[in-house]
Symmetry: D2
Subunit: 457 residues, 4 copies
Amino acid sequence: MCGVFGAYSQDGSPVLEDIYLGLCALQHRGQLSAGAAWTDGGSVHIKKGLGLVHEALCQSELAAIPAHTAIGHVRYATAGGTRPENCQPLGANYAQGPVAIAHNGNLTNARALSSYLANRGAIFQTTCDSETIIQLMAHQPGTVQLEALESALARVQGAYSLAVLLEDCLIAARDPWGFRPLVVGRRGETYFVASESCALDIIGAELIRDVEPGEILVIDRRGMISRKMRRKARRHFKCAFEYVYFARPDSVIDGRSVYRARKELGATLARHGGLTKDAVVAGMPDSGTLAALGLAEEAGMDFEAGVVRNRYVGRTFIQPTQRVREAGVKIKLNPQTGIFKGKEAVVVDDSLVRGTTAGRIVSMIRESGAAKVHMRIASPPVRYPCYYGIDTPSSEELIAAQTTIAELCEKIDADSLEYIGCDELCRAIGLPRGELCTACFDGDYMEEEEEDNLLEV
Amino acid sequence: MCGVFGAYSQDGSPVLEDIYLGLCALQHRGQLSAGAAWTDGGSVHIKKGLGLVHEALCQSELAAIPAHTAIGHVRYATAGGTRPENCQPLGANYAQGPVAIAHNGNLTNARALSSYLANRGAIFQTTCDSETIIQLMAHQPGTVQLEALESALARVQGAYSLAVLLEDCLIAARDPWGFRPLVVGRRGETYFVASESCALDIIGAELIRDVEPGEILVIDRRGMISRKMRRKARRHFKCAFEYVYFARPDSVIDGRSVYRARKELGATLARHGGLTKDAVVAGMPDSGTLAALGLAEEAGMDFEAGVVRNRYVGRTFIQPTQRVREAGVKIKLNPQTGIFKGKEAVVVDDSLVRGTTAGRIVSMIRESGAAKVHMRIASPPVRYPCYYGIDTPSSEELIAAQTTIAELCEKIDADSLEYIGCDELCRAIGLPRGELCTACFDGDYMEEEEEDNLLEV
Amino acid sequence: MCGVFGAYSQDGSPVLEDIYLGLCALQHRGQLSAGAAWTDGGSVHIKKGLGLVHEALCQSELAAIPAHTAIGHVRYATAGGTRPENCQPLGANYAQGPVAIAHNGNLTNARALSSYLANRGAIFQTTCDSETIIQLMAHQPGTVQLEALESALARVQGAYSLAVLLEDCLIAARDPWGFRPLVVGRRGETYFVASESCALDIIGAELIRDVEPGEILVIDRRGMISRKMRRKARRHFKCAFEYVYFARPDSVIDGRSVYRARKELGATLARHGGLTKDAVVAGMPDSGTLAALGLAEEAGMDFEAGVVRNRYVGRTFIQPTQRVREAGVKIKLNPQTGIFKGKEAVVVDDSLVRGTTAGRIVSMIRESGAAKVHMRIASPPVRYPCYYGIDTPSSEELIAAQTTIAELCEKIDADSLEYIGCDELCRAIGLPRGELCTACFDGDYMEEEEEDNLLEV
Amino acid sequence: MCGVFGAYSQDGSPVLEDIYLGLCALQHRGQLSAGAAWTDGGSVHIKKGLGLVHEALCQSELAAIPAHTAIGHVRYATAGGTRPENCQPLGANYAQGPVAIAHNGNLTNARALSSYLANRGAIFQTTCDSETIIQLMAHQPGTVQLEALESALARVQGAYSLAVLLEDCLIAARDPWGFRPLVVGRRGETYFVASESCALDIIGAELIRDVEPGEILVIDRRGMISRKMRRKARRHFKCAFEYVYFARPDSVIDGRSVYRARKELGATLARHGGLTKDAVVAGMPDSGTLAALGLAEEAGMDFEAGVVRNRYVGRTFIQPTQRVREAGVKIKLNPQTGIFKGKEAVVVDDSLVRGTTAGRIVSMIRESGAAKVHMRIASPPVRYPCYYGIDTPSSEELIAAQTTIAELCEKIDADSLEYIGCDELCRAIGLPRGELCTACFDGDYMEEEEEDNLLEV
């Protein structure tokens, strides 16, 4: 999970403050690090650091830089660790010129490519899979940069939505399977690429369209040119979890509104029935709110903002010491006094990964006087790891992979527990099942090509 | 607007991590500075700094301090400026021992008391009105501290909810008029005082009761003793704005749930009528959400989370540069695509101070396709400044003091605009009008005593 | 040990950069903290911090402040600890106006005065003896500041060379005994006061004269006026150790050149005889260099820069870990290879406090091949503590107070060891013994007045 | 100008605190940045930063690292700028393992090698010439590291004294011409390499010998093995300026004591005659002190520490503002009062580059009452730039390249000015002229090989 953003201004106006604002709008996609890259006098310049956008970057410093094209990146915590050199964008100045890259996704053949390159003298500066793309470009002596990029992308496998910066050129590229979202927008003479449309809204740009899976968009002085990647996909694998959890509700991804998808997921749960009309419906803040609203509306039940999320509480603010653990879940969530007293409560969340929080909220609402507590999950059980850029726990930690729904209901001490099915999920999103990646729910992974074919390209 | 918190552990267990957590729960009451004070070996020690609680204080450092009684404070931006020495708690070690003070409110006779003290040799270290209380204590040579505090409070006028720390003693005091809230709670052997009950929830303490107006609670090894202040009030002046905006919805203040009060304010607006059933109701995030919910429920209309608030956008994250102003309101708020298309929209906010944001949101929702946009305000028009601790703009800036409601409706370009009345406000809160301070709405201020009487005490 | 500096510009030109430069020249008098104070709009402003001048203060920030009068201070490590609030200058804004004070010396009746003041309501902000002067001023309600200062100084006892800043007035005051140096100088329309004349040189000012013991110099728009203090001294007690060690060699104190005094102290040692002509003379860098030069010149022997002091080694640079202790004295001092081989060495130091370094240097020079090593000390044995501002160890740690010279010679393993006598010291300095304080050598302390007389003044 | 240091402990004891201490002793060779590198688990780790050793590195952090072999570096300000990535050591983990390098000197064919490497896919991370050595190593796929290093060194040209770190191996290498010094020492089971012997003294290690020009010393578990480089030099070019100015006086370089060399340079000046016996001799602190001492001793004249250097004044402490420039030379240097009055003064400095300081000191001493002021320079006039690692100004700024000695004497307003000749310089050092590089004095540069030969190796 990461967010990428890029801008190219044809009338030469500076874009780095837009990059800053766009990254702020994508902050929910990555809070571990942030960075921006631009070129100046044939060299790539990069500012990046750990933390939120405003901690890693300085808005006024960026605003003072006259670059008319630039890219930016926000990064989520992943297993790879928090070494500052792994922050993105990555950049290099090599024989053919400057290049910088911002990558959302995960390359599944990075290890094989790295050893191939190391045997040809490559010195890797990071442990990021994204660096292999730059090294593949540099190891094509005499090849112009755009061609070197296309040839490099023909050799990588997995998920990548990229914003790439060359000397006077911005490139957006989305892998042939379309795992991660990527859109292109425009405000006057300036083009933007972004992981989500909400980043276009913040800067007053208009959404033109999604970058297509397998498409390379080249934006420069002359305009926007679309090219097809050499590798083709048998079918698309657009991530369903973006609609369930990751994306911001005001974004529109591959033509589908995330807000509507979430409310429809809640409505789907309502149609499962089994709930009394005078129950109180509450969402887990903030991830379950929209599904709870959809459920309440469809079922004609009362929706309440029944649980307060302490805004200034969380990893940034409070360390998980012994005392904090004793104080328990109330650190983060606090039920409204009197809302649930003597009533049946329906608590809706977007998904259920480890089950710890669900168990705590059920007991908390029960303590606040609820007669019954029903748990509803607005997605199928997560049973398989994701290899395409999402930081899921291993199967051992995925509660749904280890236990039946009935056992889980007992474990979290709910009076009932329901999920939705994979087909229901796809219907709620509004895309054919054959275009969505639901591997984390059903284990239906993309088939990968033989490594040797790729190295020989 | 500030938040105070205090703890006294009778079994000697350390309390400073609780102070940290309590301040986190009160963070919404003040984000300008934070601090904590404790005593050690007869001296008062203070840690404080600018910024949010986790920026000004270090949780693990505090957790390592063995003090069994302590106080804390969060401070809102006020006209007095941001000089670090004005951060609270304030403390001093004087002839009778150590004292520290955390103050929510505003003393209206601070200036007169300061010059009285300066003529007796007092050297002021801050420009805080709260320091006069400490100086009044020190200028009673030979008087034991508790008596000196009582005598000092008999001479100050205005709003004060205080947590005061003496050598081995915690004191909670609330002015005779009861302007600002103050509660006392307990967890096992440890007593807590806090501006709001939500700060008791976070540490797993139980709310015992509100500190009464004119009450001084002395908490020490022997337990909790209640004393009456020498000054008496003719009637109470509990701040109505706490229910409208300041307090957290999961707090209970003077026996009334803030959550219920806000929903009831929305329901009151619904009862005004004049809205079509198939309109879409949305709240200004986050301040108008509960009133919007109450309105929709009472009127049987659809509630939608129709406007997204960019969480990572705001004063901390983005500077208001020219580019940001051009990008406009979308920086902070973004309407959900398609929600309002072809419908009448009802937008609810808690109050309307300058009118700028309201105008922007109306135009934004209109642009997103709404047929009509109705604005509803869940409180009366704010027409008068507050002298008791709330940082209201001057009358010239208060839009409601300068214009009629009809003109204002036109100015923000809404199809209709409604407020509620003062009596409705009090009814929704559930307290008699004669106990609430509604001065900012109706100019009905408390009468102050003659200054000379106070200096002679 | 501290350094004070002050400036008053009659033509209104800004002086704070001069304060910065002057403090740099006085840096040898105190490296624990530095600070500067000035007035603006009737308020005193202070910048101060721990560390060297350039760490605690920012030259360009100071240079941008338009104040035409200001004072500064550098502070040495003393027993009082390193609490930031104890850094000087100290300042206050009280009923009569702003005041700031920079103090070199030590008040011997500070404790009695503090409790006298505390019983009159004073709240002390520091544990600095210097604060009593400000509190004494504030506790004279209605008295103009200059008169309040004079009256305050009539009640303090001990050593004080002060630079005091009032609203539009700079005051230099030196205690009636003259313990610590204080000079006044001038450059064009600007007057300066400084602990040593070297601070006048650095800013191109000319030394006018020493401030006399018991003199208060008032410098303002009208010029410089000299006043006599109310308290009188029976005789002067000018610190002899300033000439031996503290002062910079290019300073002139009470009319005597420090450089000449140090060379003369070395020459005095030469006249003691007992050394062979072809011995090699070396000084302990840097404190013994000048005396070594004087000895070599008087005796007609070869002076060598025989020991290198590692400039970038010392408390700031290297922590005294186990490994560092093992590496031993060479961390700080390294003898020149081959200089001492087969020769008699004469090592000269200014004084000998604990004896540890002397022992190490003797063994180091012996290891580098010297036939004999003679130690010479250019002052009498230090046997008594100083109560007037110098941070001497307690008698138990003063090696000369615990042992005979013969035993000490054996302990440091030298072939001979010689000191000079008190009379020789005074002769070398060139001032009558009856004007110098030699208490740390001979225990001849100033007699103090009864405390009661002072409190009643 | 830089300093390098390395350690290998055969008994596995940690060495990074020794690296810290060694770098402190070499601090005079570079104050722009400092760094240390070690290996752990097959990876190279580097800590480095701008500033002095204690600013860039943390002694206690280093002391806690268990590495038994490591290298360190201090860097002087050079034209290449202060980009943090250019700080040394440089390191990389490539296919054959980890490598780190600390380099003193300057490669004269770095540009040609860089473009050769870039055409083979190399991505350069720095603008340091030293990186070419690492890239040359990585671009020999399948070659073991030591062999790759030897082959890389066969292709570089210019000055290099290197400490190189491989997985479990420390390598010291000095170019075939011997431009920069490099020594090897030992303490128990631990070997050290250092730019100067003073860095061995500080850690209590014994100097074994100089690394020979063209020698590669490989130190590992089995001990120390000497290898010869493939490239041979026609003759040595040991830098004469190390003896004149750069090296610390307590170091011994290529068997010659720097201290003795400097005194002998002064004695040489004395033998030129032309000075009166009763003149006062003073050195420019600190660079001219030893030559002044040698001159005074040889001539039988009085040596005085006639000029004080303000220790806490200089680039770090004081910014060169307008006010500072007005205050003039006294900021840094202050003559002793009365020393020169009515006498002839002989001022000795090690060299004279731009002439500004010399002019100021002459006028300062004249103002302090000297009858005549004679300037003596303990080296020949610097007339040519250095291409081998010393940061000399361009010829236009070299005063001696632009003017005759007589004109120069007049310009600095001295009564006489004398230099020494190149032959005298070599005699004073004690090495044959054919072994020393005196190019900056006489333009006699080393002949370089054809580039093509090197690239083909």
